[in-house]
Every structure is written in structure tokens, then in C-alpha cells.
């Protein structure tokens, strides 16, 4: 690929999604955009690039951005962030929010819905111990295509076997031919919104917990910093942030601190928990 073509696509992705594409990942442009070119009846990537340059067609640019985003997701991915939610965060919220009886969770870049639905199933399993509580889970993603799949809640046999315990499959899914349909009682616990993490967060409201896993790795450092700093403004001092196992706030922002021994879990630097000796940070 010509350097000017790489630059055009890399600038487009950075501007529209924050995605940072290094030259060594240039092969991804070929592998992910060639099928898009063919779908549009074009010869290949060169023609697609020419069309972007000449038309600046909004739909095309959106399709290019969507094709370049990574949408891998599975139920209870990495287990730990969900165990921590069930065993640490939820008991804490049960105490701190007992007057309000309302918990709001944001799954940023939720892809095809497995993360918010995993949390919804945990909450549903705990509902007997939380009578009268309201749970609100908001899943956002840049891609309308993955959000459509998330809303449908229909998954393949392969997808339901990656991380979903069989007891939860039996309880919360119905088989429809070769596919597995999530029941309405879980689907209705999650609302989805098309949303770009580069846009202001104000309209989303405040949250008690934010899951932003395996997203920041695709951004450059200044973008990571501004996203994390703005996320801090969306949660109270006793809120919680979960990042992916390969991500950290260290060296990126001081507004969150890692919780010692709890991989991927972060709390605001002014969290009341940090005033207690037992909750020392890493």
C-alpha cells in the first residue's frame, strides 16, 4: 500500500473512532477492507481508497470505520472482572446504595452484547437478595451492526460455549434451530446506544460501575488519558472502573488507582475506600 493511502485511512480512523493504526498493522487494512470493497462492487482496496478520496461518502466512511474495529467478545470474558463484580463490587453497592436501590452500569464498547448480558445474568441471579432494586445496564458501541446483533441477543453454538456456564445457558436461553436466543428477562435489562468514546459523555448520565475493557489498547496515549479523565467524571468517588487485563491507568492518568490484588479493577483516586488501610492500592 502506498504511504499516502495508508495515511489517508489511518487519519480517517483516528478522526472518527480514535483508533490508532501503526504502520506494522497496515496488513489489517488489506484483510478487512478488501471484502468491503468487493461488497461495494469494486475491484479491490485501491478502488475503495479512490472512492473515499473522491466522494467522502458518509456511509462509506462509516463502513470503513466499522470494518476496522475489533469486535471479538464472549460471555464472562476473562472471568475475573465478573467475579470481582459479584463478590466485591455488588456487596459494596448493596450497602452504599441501600437508600437509592438503583445501580447503573456502563459497558463502553460492548460489541455484540456478551459483556452487558453477563452482568445482567449475575444481577438476575442475585435479585432474590436485592428485593426492590433497579438495575440499569447501558451498552454502547461505535458500530450499529454489532449493536443490532446485541439487541437481538441471538448467538451461535460456538458463541454460547465460550465462557457461558451451562447452567446459565439452560436458564436464560432458548434454542431456535442452530442458534441460541437470550430470554427477554435478560435482554430487557440492557439498553444499547450507538456511541463514540471521543464524544462527550454527559448525555449518558452517571454510573456506579464502568466496564471499558480491551478498548483503550487501540488508542494513542493522549486519547487514553482524555477518555479515562472524562470517565472519572461519570462515576461517583465510590464508583468502580474495569479495564482489560492488558490495560492500565499507570502512566496514563492519576484520577484512577488500581486496587491491589484485584486485576483490572480501578477506583477513583479520591475514593473513600483509599482512606481505609485495608484497601491499599498497588
Amino acid at each position: 500500500m502506498k504511504p499516502e493511502d495508508f495515511q489517508l485511512l489511518s487519519d480517517l480512523l483516528k478522526r472518527r473512532s480514535g483508533l490508532q493504526l501503526s504502520p506494522e498493522k497496515g496488513y489489517l487494512l488489506e484483510s478487512r477492507l478488501t471484502p468491503l470493497a468487493r461488497k461495494r462492487g469494486l475491484e479491490g482496496l485501491d478502488e475503495l481508497i479512490a472512492e473515499i478520496r473522491n466522494t467522502r461518502d458518509e456511509t462509506l466512511m462509516r463502513d470503513v470505520t466499522e470494518a476496522m474495529t475489533t469486535n471479538e467478545s464472549f460471555f464472562f470474558r476473562d472471568n475475573t472482572p465478573f467475579d470481582l463484580f459479584r463478590n466485591h463490587v455488588l456487596p459494596g453497592l448493596r450497602e452504599c446504595r441501600k437508600d437509592r436501590k438503583h445501580i447503573r452500569i456502563w459497558c463502553a464498547a460492548c460489541s455484540t452484547g456478551q459483556e452487558p448480558y453477563s452482568l445482567a445474568m449475575i444481577l438476575k441471579e442475585q435479585q432474590a437478595t436485592l428485593p426492590g432494586w433497579r438495575f440499569e445496564i447501558v451498552g454502547t458501541d461505535l458500530s450499529p451492526k454489532v449493536l443490532d446483533k446485541a439487541k437481538q441477543g441471538v448467538y451461535s453454538q460456538f458463541e454460547v460455549q465460550r465462557g457461558l456456564p451451562i447452567q446459565l445457558l439452560m436458564k436464560y436461553f432458548e434454542q431456535t434451530g442452530e442458534m441460541w436466543q437470550l430470554t427477554d428477562q435478560i435482554r430487557q435489562m440492557v439498553t444499547y446506544k450507538e456511541f463514540n468514546l471521543l464524544d462527550p459523555f454527559d448525555a449518558l448520565g452517571k454510573f456506579d460501575v464502568i466496564y471499558c475493557r480491551n478498548v483503550l489498547i487501540y488508542f494513542d496515549q493522549p486519547t487514553k488519558t482524555q477518555i479515562l479523565d472524562r470517565m472519572r467524571a461519570q462515576i461517583p468517588a465510590d464508583g468502580t472502573l474495569f479495564l482489560g487485563a492488558a490495560e492500565t491507568v499507570l502512566g496514563i492518568t492519576d484520577v484512577f488507582k488500581p486496587v491491589r490484588g484485584q486485576r483490572g479493577m480501578y477506583i477513583p483516586a479520591d475514593s473513600p475506600a483509599l482512606a481505609q488501610p485495608a484497601a491499599a492500592i498497588a
Binding site: F74, Q157, R162, I166, Q175
Partner: protein, 121 residues
């Protein structure tokens, strides 16, 4: 090192499962049907059994029911691994005492996820 008994009448499936599980650091035993598996469990109790459903001599569900009735056998974790991919079979297996259920085809990622859910990883 934990021990896994792979019970399947297909030599190919046993070979594939062995390769995956050895990479996951399991010691492997093999059985060709439920009867063979039961005899081996009486000799040496595995930590986990990866169990096919449809087999000659004794099928997977009959083996599991027999296994769970045998107080003299140290009870292993049982993960079904079968082409029976409907809810009725899954319910039957879980009611008979299975701990997890894999619908074939499987790969290492699925086995790891399922084994992790039953505390083997």
C-alpha cells in the same frame, strides 16, 4: 498434574482431545465406551472425565448414572462432549450429575473455558 479420562468411541476425537489436554498439562487416560470407562474408574480415579454420549456397549448417560451411584469411586468432574446439542439432552445430562456440557465441534478455547468454569484451571 491432573488426570483426564477421555471417553469416546472415535479414535480421531480421542486423539484430538488428547493433544489439546496434554497441551493444557493434563495426564490422559482413554476409554472407548462407558463400560471401559467404568472399569478404569474402579482402578484409578481421574480428576475429570470428558464424556461422549453415543457409544456402543454402554453410552455416556448410562455410564454417568452408574458412576454417580458408585460410592466406592472418588467422584470426578464430568464434562459431556457430544454432538447432542439440544436443550433436552443438556437437561438430562445435568440431572444425571454432569458438571458441564460441550457441544461438538470443540476446540481448545472451549475446553479451557469449560474446565475453568468447573474449577480445573
Amino acid at each position: 498434574m491432573k488426570c483426564c479420562l477421555v471417553v469416546d468411541d472415535s479414535k480421531v476425537i480421542r486423539k484430538v482431545a488428547r493433544r489439546i489436554l496434554e497441551e493444557m498439562n493434563f495426564q490422559i487416560m482413554e476409554a472407548v465406551d462407558g463400560q471401559d470407562a467404568l472399569e478404569q474408574c474402579l482402578q484409578e480415579a481421574p480428576d475429570v472425565i470428558l464424556l461422549d454420549w453415543n457409544m456402543p456397549v454402554m453410552n455416556g448417560i448410562d455410564f454417568l448414572r452408574s458412576l454417580r451411584e458408585r460410592a466406592e469411586i472418588k467422584q470426578p468432574v464430568v464434562v459431556f462432549c457430544t454432538t447432542e446439542n439440544d436443550m433436552a439432552h443438556i437437561r438430562t445430562a445435568m440431572e444425571a450429575g454432569a458438571n458441564e456440557y460441550i457441544m461438538k465441534p470443540f476446540d481448545r478455547e472451549i475446553i479451557e473455558a469449560k474446565f475453568s468454569q468447573v474449577g480445573l484451571m
